[in-house]
């Protein structure tokens, strides 16, 4: 053996020895690290789980991800030959030949489009751009946007007045209805419309417009969960009534029957006020639809879609067949469309008094009287349309970039329309599919999306029960841009999303088999990289602070109080809430622990887009930001505030409302640093 060869052997040998030296203690270290971050001891030590799939920006992130279309809502031409599909993630309106099942045009629209409707003559389409606060008028002949009309914050559902003079736009984030005069092409008024509305439906005679809210009334924990349907008089363009829908929320969409005898609402019946001790017997979430009678007693009755051992979670769209005999409800949590026999509903309404029907909305077996069929769909079925001849039902399968086609004579699936999205299923995309799918909970009772609609939060406070029932009521936290904001939960017990959604999660919450490690990889990847804050167009559209916000920032940053006394470090806003996330990711007692809470310190929440996540504080006791300090500020435990004038508090809140995505904040910081260097 020559020296050269020895040398040759020596090099890999050395590397091997060093490698082994690193490997064994390294592995031990990795094991400890992974055990801590996942709270399990059998994770396969795949580094990519956290260190690859959770990268949310840069070239690696773009290499890992793909640009999907994610169709959400649709419109169909009167001849039934053309579908107009809102591709939410691609910011475009897709024109689809329904017969050839082919995409024929891509029309770019605004950011994060939500809904599309067509004018009666079919010449133009109206598209609501939820993250751009406007609607666009698209001339379909030329496939071009002709007008962009500003709306309220977060436009979603759309409807045209029967004379085509007014366009009604539901503003989800600002909770109102924009009325656009289409001759003047401008917003003429904004009417209040419940809380976080999306659904909209015009009565067949055009006199009445309904808008359904998704969030419930913000009430102290323990008071009933009630959500509004707002009724508008279209001749006066005014709010005419508010219907309170008891025990329901997330009323995503509404529809009228063609004869106008019933208005239908998709809805969820949450069980947030009962201790979350089991899933069996519908103990967490029920799913159904509401009926507002338009004649006679005008009762509001709810019906469940669920069955005792099977739940049809996250109903999104609700649609009535052209003959008025059936309704279709797309349940995005279970990839099913439920076919409701409306004649059965009508007969039940006729034969049962309201009191009994109210009770039957708790009877999980009652759906057998009106559910005709459950039609399977692609991943996450959302908006639906029916062809004018009534023969086809199209459904936007949001998470596999397809439009499902269903033969309404047989209720059988035909070949879907492929919208041409990427063929690869990225880890994050798979995570999103898991996120919206109820398969992760016992008997499919709910999905992550149920309590985190829009990947955000549902505005409810739940009794998480802990060890004792009735303890630890908890305000659902938003999942938007939580990457880099670990630890998680109000008590900060979870160092990672991995741990958060792991074994314990399945034991106390989903109560079915825990997510597998690959599924957890995907879920965590989506949660940490795929959920963005909408731009804060409400309070900070330009990125420049208003005078009041600037004054508020001074208060946020202040170190002395109005009397000139130095504020102790812990009493300053900026100490615990430093930019860009406005959290120091550490723990503090801000004096808001209640007797029914376990003794914990709170994980300082991040404040990006804080305006969008009322109610506030760990148990949602503060309905508005003001209440954090007016009602619950105590003796300056949550920042020194008691010296402030009302105007100063208003300025502070104006500043808090201005906070947007941390990404923007971070950019600002970089600019700032760069300036300092120069």
């Amino acid at each position: 053996m020559s020296i050269k060869r020895k040398k040759l052997l020596f090099v890999p040998g050395f590397v091997l020895v060093i490698g082994l030296l690193i490997y064994f203690p390294g592995r031990k270290h990795a094991r400890e690290h992974v055990n801590l971050m996942t709270a399990v001891e059998d994770h396969p030590l795949k580094c990519a789980s956290c260190h690859l799939h959770m990268i949310d920006k840069g070239p690696i992130a773009s290499w890992l991800n793909a640009d999907y279309y994610s169709p959400l809502n649709m419109a169909i031409s009167r001849d039934g030959n053309t579908l107009y599909v809102v591709a939410q993630d691609a910011n475009e309106l897709m024109v689809v030949d329904a017969l050839k099942k082919k995409v024929i045009q891509h029309i770019p629209v605004g950011k994060y489009p939500h809904s599309v409707i067509l004018s009666e003559d079919g010449a133009s389409a109206f598209v609501s751009n939820q993250w751009a606060d406007n609607v666009m008028i698209v001339d379909l002949a030329s496939a071009s946007v002709t007008d962009t009309i500003p709306t309220g914050n977060g436009p979603s559902g759309l409807s045209l007045s029967i004379d085509q003079k007014y366009l009604y736009v539901v503003n989800t984030f600002s909770s109102d209805l924009t009325v656009i005069n289409l001759e003047r092409k401008t917003e003429v008024k904004r009417l209040s419309a419940g809380n976080n509305p999306t659904g909209i439906a015009l009565s067949p005679n055009g006199e009445k417009l309904y808008v359904s809210s998704r969030r419930a009334h913000m009430v102290p924990y323990g008071e009933p969960t009630i959500t509004d349907v707002t009724e508008f008089n279209t001749s006066k363009n005014r709010v005419s009534a508010t219907m309170e829908i008891d025990e329901a929320y997330l009323m995503e969409n509404m529809a009228f029957t063609p004869e106008g005898d019933l208005a239908l609402i998709s809805l969820i019946r949450p069980k947030n006020l009962v201790p979350m001790v089991q899933v069996e017997r519908g103990w967490m979430m029920n799913h159904g639809f509401g009926v507002i009678e338009q004649t006679g007693q005008q009762r509001i009755i709810q019906f469940l879609l669920d069955e005792p051992n099977s739940y049809y979670s996250d109903p999104f769209d609700i649609l009535v067949s052209n003959d008025g005999k059936r309704a279709f409800v797309s349940s995005s949590g279970v990839n099913r469309i439920s076919v409701v026999n409306l004649d059965s509903i009508r007969s039940l309404l006729q034969n049962y008094p309201e009191e009994e029907l109210d009770y039957l909305a708790f009877d999980l077996s009652f759906s057998r009287h009106y559910i005709e069929k459950r039609i399977p769909t692609g991943a996450s079925p959302k908006g639906m349309v029916i062809s004018a001849d009534g023969s086809r039902l199209y459904v936007a399968n949001q998470l596999d970039d397809q439009v499902g086609v269903i033969d309404l004579n047989t209720f059988e699936n035909l070949d879907p329309i492929d919208l041409g999205g990427p063929k690869k299923l990225t880890v994050a995309r798979k995570g999103r599919q898991l996120f919206v799918n109820a398969g992760g909970t016992f008997q499919n009772q709910y999905s992550c999306y149920t309590c985190h609609p829009d990947y955000h939060e549902d505005g409810l406070v739940y009794n998480m029960a802990g060890k004792d029932m009735g303890r630890n009521v908890t305000n659902v936290q938003s999942l938007r841009e939580i990457n880099h904001t670990a630890p998680f939960k109000w008590n900060g017990k979870n160092e990672s999303v991995y741990k958060q959604d792991g074994m314990r999660f399945s034991t106390v919450l989903t109560r079915t088999e825990a997510f597998s490690f690959p599924d957890l990889d995907a879920l965590a990847s989506f949660i940490l990289t795929g959920i963005k804050n909408p731009p804060n167009l409400m309070y900070n559209p330009s990125g420049e602070l208003t005078a009041a916000q600037l004054r508020g920032k001074e208060i946020f940053d202040r170190t002395v109080d109005n009397y000139g006394n130095e504020i102790p470090e812990k009493g300053r806003c900026v100490t615990c809430h430093p930019s860009p996330y406005y959290s120091n990711f550490s723990f503090e007692d801000v004096g808001t622990l209640s007797e029914s809470d376990d003794t914990i310190k709170f994980d300082t929440p991040h404040l990006n887009n804080i305006f969008a996540s009322a109610p506030y504080l760990h148990d949602g006791r503060a309905v508005t930001l003001e209440e954090i300090w007016t009602k619950y500020g105590g003796r300056d435990q949550h920042g020194v505030v008691n010296d402030m004038t009302k105007m100063q508090l208003n300025d502070l809140i104006a500043y808090l409302n201005s906070l947007g995505s941390a990404e923007l904040e971070a950019k600002e910081q970089e600019v700032l640093k760069a300036e300092i260097k120069n």
């Binding site: 708790f362 630890n472 919450l509 079915t512 088999e513």
Partner: protein
């Protein structure tokens, strides 16, 4: 030896099958065979009774599909029964004993080699084993006491024989176990104390928690077998009455309202069911009352039976197909064995379902907690009808409602027990498993739970930090 007697064609077919079989399963897997229990016809116990499987001479045989060729797999046992196939199709659990003085124990056999391994060594009979996910299994074991005779309980453990623990504690008799796809265990159960009740299908989590009704027959009809779940989300079972016997089904989603009769026969014509290929079922049945039970293949769609196998002098019972199965979900367990109690919440004892809307009956204001032989406590309920108890773990009890002056309003309900750290809740009394809760915080949970115990030192402990989600 019987092979030689067959015609050339059939032998050729068989050889081909054998080749296919061998090529598919390199080390002699038994995939595709049917395992069943053969019980001697003139055994001391009447077929259909509780102990019909514990007959000496009972044996487990394997047969090839379509043929009457059976191989005795349990030659070394004086009695063997209840074969269950593992999810990978490679092993079989069964209950058996070697000597007549032995107790029945649970054994596992590697089907490819026939190698047998004893898992349990109990002082009482252990029967009816089933596989659970991730190396666990469940079985039934006799636990009769002086007071409560003839009761048994479900136990679970690791397949290596460790961690064997009792998971049910009520004075009931379990006679069949099925692992449902959702991860729970379905069992045919009847109450044996204070008096015998009708058998029902109850469902529970594998840790014994949340034991509740899954299906019960109408009055006059009696459930006769455990249930078999098929991939079409239906469950099949045998039921009967004084004049006839039936195979019936219910859907998993809606068991109490989807009863369907698949086929009817004379009294005792059907005995038990097992799952088979293509959503068909294996059925033990007899053609006339004087025949013995034979094995057939039942098509549940049209109710037709094709005879598969019969065994002279034996009743053929409890057939199961050897194949890989979709394993059920592995349900997490909230049971913490070191805890001494669990929690029980009821939203409104005066809520009895839709009937309470119609009748203005007297409202109960108290509940009485009844143990096996004594009253454990009388507890005032809250104004909204709710109560909240911290109950000594693994202790059977029943609840009856009382008026303010201690008049019984609703007599004792079913037996309950709470596992350590289990948290259970119900909407009202007798509302069944189909009524979901009112979205209302029960007044009772705004206070500390009332302690229910039986001679133990159970105390209200300051709640430990266990802040959820």
């Amino acid at each position: 030896m019987k092979l030689i007697k067959l015609t050339n064609i059939s032998s050729a077919v068989l050889v081909l099958q054998l080749l296919l079989f061998l090529s598919a399963c390199s080390d002699g897997s038994m995939e595709g065979r049917i395992l069943l229990t053969e019980v001697p016809q003139n055994g001391s116990n009447e077929i259909g009774s509780n102990n019909h499987l514990k007959v000496e001479g009972a044996r487990i045989v394997a047969l090839l599909p379509g043929g009457n060729t059976a191989v005795n797999l349990t030659e070394n046992f004086i009695s063997a029964a209840s074969p269950a196939v593992s999810y990978d199709g490679e092993n079989m659990l069964f209950s058996a004993k070697k000597e007549s003085t032995d107790h029945f124990q649970i054994f596992e056999m590697k089907l490819s080699s026939g190698k047998v391994r004893q898992i349990t060594s109990c002082e009482e009979d252990c029967t009816n084993p089933i596989y659970l996910p991730l190396g666990r299994f469940a079985f039934i074991r006799e636990v009769a006491s002086e007071k409560v005779k003839n009761s048994n309980a479900v136990f679970t453990g690791m397949l290596d024989g460790t961690n064997i623990q009792q998971v049910t504690f009520s004075p009931q008799r379990f006679s069949s176990l099925t692992a449902l796809n959702d991860g729970r265990i379905l069992s045919l159960v009847k109450t044996v104390y204070p008096e015998e009740g009708a058998p029902k299908l109850l469902v529970m989590r594998p840790d014994g928690t949340k034991l509740e009704l899954f299906y019960k027959s109408d009055v006059g009809t009696q459930l006769c077998s455990g249930a078999v779940e098929t991939s079409s989300e239906n469950l099949f079972f045998v039921e009967g009455n004084d004049t006839e016997s039936r195979v019936a089904s219910v859907s998993y989603n809606l068991p109490l309202h989807s009863h369907k009769i698949i086929m009817e026969g004379e009294k005792n014509a059907f005995l038990s069911l097992g799952s088979y290929l293509d959503d068909r079922l294996l059925l033990s049945y007899k053609k006339t009352n004087s025949d013995n039970y034979i094995l057939g293949e039942l098509n549940p769609v049209d109710g037709t039976i094709r005879e598969l196998y019969k065994s002279e002098g034996y009743n053929v019972i409890g057939a199961v197909l050897v194949q890989a199965y979709q394993r059920p979900k592995n349900l997490p367990s909230e049971v913490q064995p070191l805890e001494h109690a669990g929690l029980l919440l009821c939203q409104d004892i005066n809520f009895l379902g839709i009937e309470s809307l119609k009748n203005e009956s007297e409202k109960a204001q108290k509940i009485e907690i009844l143990g096996i032989d004594s009253t454990l406590a009388v507890v005032d309920v809250e104004d909204d009808g709710s109560f909240y108890l911290k109950v000594e773990a693994n202790m059977p009890f029943r609840v009856q409602t009382l008026s303010a002056d201690n008049k019984v309003i609703n007599g004792p309900g079913s037996w309950y027990y709470i596992r350590p750290n289990e948290r259970r809740a119900c909407v009202g009394c007798h509302t069944g498993p189909e009524i979901s809760p009112f979205n209302k915080q029960p007044l009772a949970v705004t206070k500390n739970p009332v302690i229910i115990k039986n001679n133990s030192e159970l105390k209200l402990t300051k709640n430990t930090k266990d802040y959820e989600h």
